[in-house]
């Protein structure tokens, strides 16, 4: 563990600069309680790994990469038989409300978010990173541990799948403004 003042100062700055971003990242993917837990976990890991802190422009993707794994682990821990059973409706693409539903402002939002939840998890993540975190594909590649070319390909495929799911859910008319 880094205990020198330089490491501590770097961590304090990292924490102040990126706490809100990491919390927002988690809130966009899980419920409020889990998001706070996950954010704490992310910064705890970051503190332990402060010696591995990358250069400034890569810090955000480094933190999001940790958050991605923390949330994945959180979900999988919950996936232990019995607890996950209560979540089956969500993971098996039912209409059960996810965390986003709490703050959905319009029926239109609900429709597109429901469509997203019917995509495979990796497609959902790429769309969220690109659309909500507004992260360039090169950074997404770092977070997910895949090539930039793979991100490009998966992003376009995910967008097409999202449009298809949205249409299946009856979004075409609304898109045309005639619903």
């Amino acid at each position: 563990m880094k205990l020198d003042r330089g490491g501590e100062a770097a961590f304090r700055r990292l924490y102040e600069l990126h706490y809100a971003e990491v919390l927002a990242y988690c809130l966009r993917r899980t419920d409020r309680s889990d998001a706070h837990d996950a954010t704490s976990e992310v910064f705890l890991i970051a503190w332990r790994k402060i010696d591995e802190l990358p250069e400034a422009e890569k810090v955000r993707s480094w933190l999001f990469g940790i958050a991605y794994r923390v949330l994945g682990h959180q979900w999988r821990s919950r996936a232990r038989y019995g607890r996950l059973k209560r979540k089956v409706a969500v993971t098996s693409n039912s209409a059960a409300p996810g965390p986003e539903t709490v703050v959905v402002r319009r029926a239109e939002d609900r429709r597109v978010l429901d469509a997203v939840r019917r995509l495979r998890p990796s497609d959902q993540e790429i769309l969220r990173l690109a659309g909500w975190e507004e992260i360039p594909h090169a950074e997404i590649a770092e977070i997910l541990g895949i090539s930039v070319a793979a991100v490009d390909q998966r992003f376009h495929r995910a967008k097409r799948r999202l449009a298809r799911e949205y249409d299946t859910a009856g979004g075409t008319n609304e898109r045309g403004g005639a619903e």
């Binding site: 706490y19 809100a20 959905v104």
Partner: protein, 272 residues
């Protein structure tokens, strides 16, 4: 602008947490991490409890330092235990891959096909996949579960892993044929499992025995429930003349003991 772009723009607009400034107020004091080291940050509720926790953490840390210092004085050669190192992404991947495969098998052994499907990746989420799990559920209902003896990660490639689980099938026909001890391989990625055909034994011989017995002694039901021709192409996995479905299992599973006896008897023309 394509349709996909339009829908993506709607998705961007539906961001449930569009603004960050409000979240700044929720940031706990950084010292709860730095002073605690391995202590997690509690969710912010009020300033007072946070301060109290901070004070307790500081007191606990001081006691720990004193205790360790005392120990060092008594046993100067005793190595100081290091704080637990964070797991590498690959270690996390390996653990998650094994635990998810075990969860998947537990769900299968519980006959919870919805949960099995929820843990299954897109390549293993077809109607035929669901049906093959229903076949297994049919065996389970007749007291023939799959005993899981252990799972290990066989290989890792990027963010994916191959998990191999040693299993012993409870299927009486498989036991009779000596092919009950098998390896169940799984591909793990994105938190989901794609099941792969058993290795380590010829499971086809088991399916062949079921099909042979049913064709011979339950021909009409076989044609309706277990013949591959009873299912639309691609909707059921078939092997050696047996459609692996829940419907077929309802016929076949209760006959497993009879089929095992029939095999022991040398597969005579008459029913055992």
């Amino acid at each position: 602008m394509t349709d996909a772009d339009v829908v993506f723009a709607k998705f961007v607009d539906a961001n449930p947490v569009p603004d960050l400034p409000d979240l700044e107020a929720l940031r706990p004091d950084v010292t709860t991490i730095i002073s605690g080291g391995a202590t997690r940050i509690d969710k912010p509720r009020s300033a007072a409890p946070t301060l109290r926790r901070g004070a307790w953490a500081a007191a606990a840390a001081l006691l720990l330092v004193l205790a360790v210092g005392g120990l060092l004085l008594v046993w100067p050669d005793q190595p100081v235990s290091q704080p637990a190192q964070p797991q590498s992404p690959e270690e996390v991947l390996r653990q998650n891959a094994v635990s998810t495969a075990e969860d998947w098998l537990s769900a299968l052994n519980a006959g919870d096909i919805d949960l099995v499907m929820a843990l299954s990746g897109p390549e293993a989420s077809s109607e035929a996949d669901r049906r093959v799990h229903e076949w297994q559920a049919g065996l389970l209902a007749q007291g023939m579960p799959i005993e899981v003896r252990g799972c290990v990660v066989a290989s890792v490639a990027g963010t994916a892993a191959r998990v191999e689980c040693e299993v012993r099938l409870g299927d009486l026909v498989a036991i009779e044929l000596g092919v009950a001890d098998l390896v169940a391989p799984f591909d793990y990625s994105d938190g989901l499992i794609t099941w792969r055909p058993y290795t380590g034994g010829n499971i086809g011989d088991v399916n062949d025995a079921y099909a042979g017995y049913l064709r011979r002694f339950h021909a009409a039901e076989y044609e309706t429930l277990c013949s591959p021709s009873a299912y639309s192409p691609g909707t059921a996995i078939q092997d050696r003349g047996l459609a692996l479905t829940g419907e077929c299992a309802q016929l076949a599973a209760p006959l497993a003991a009879d089929i095992a006896q029939w095999i022991r008897d040398g597969r005579p023309e008459e029913q055992p």
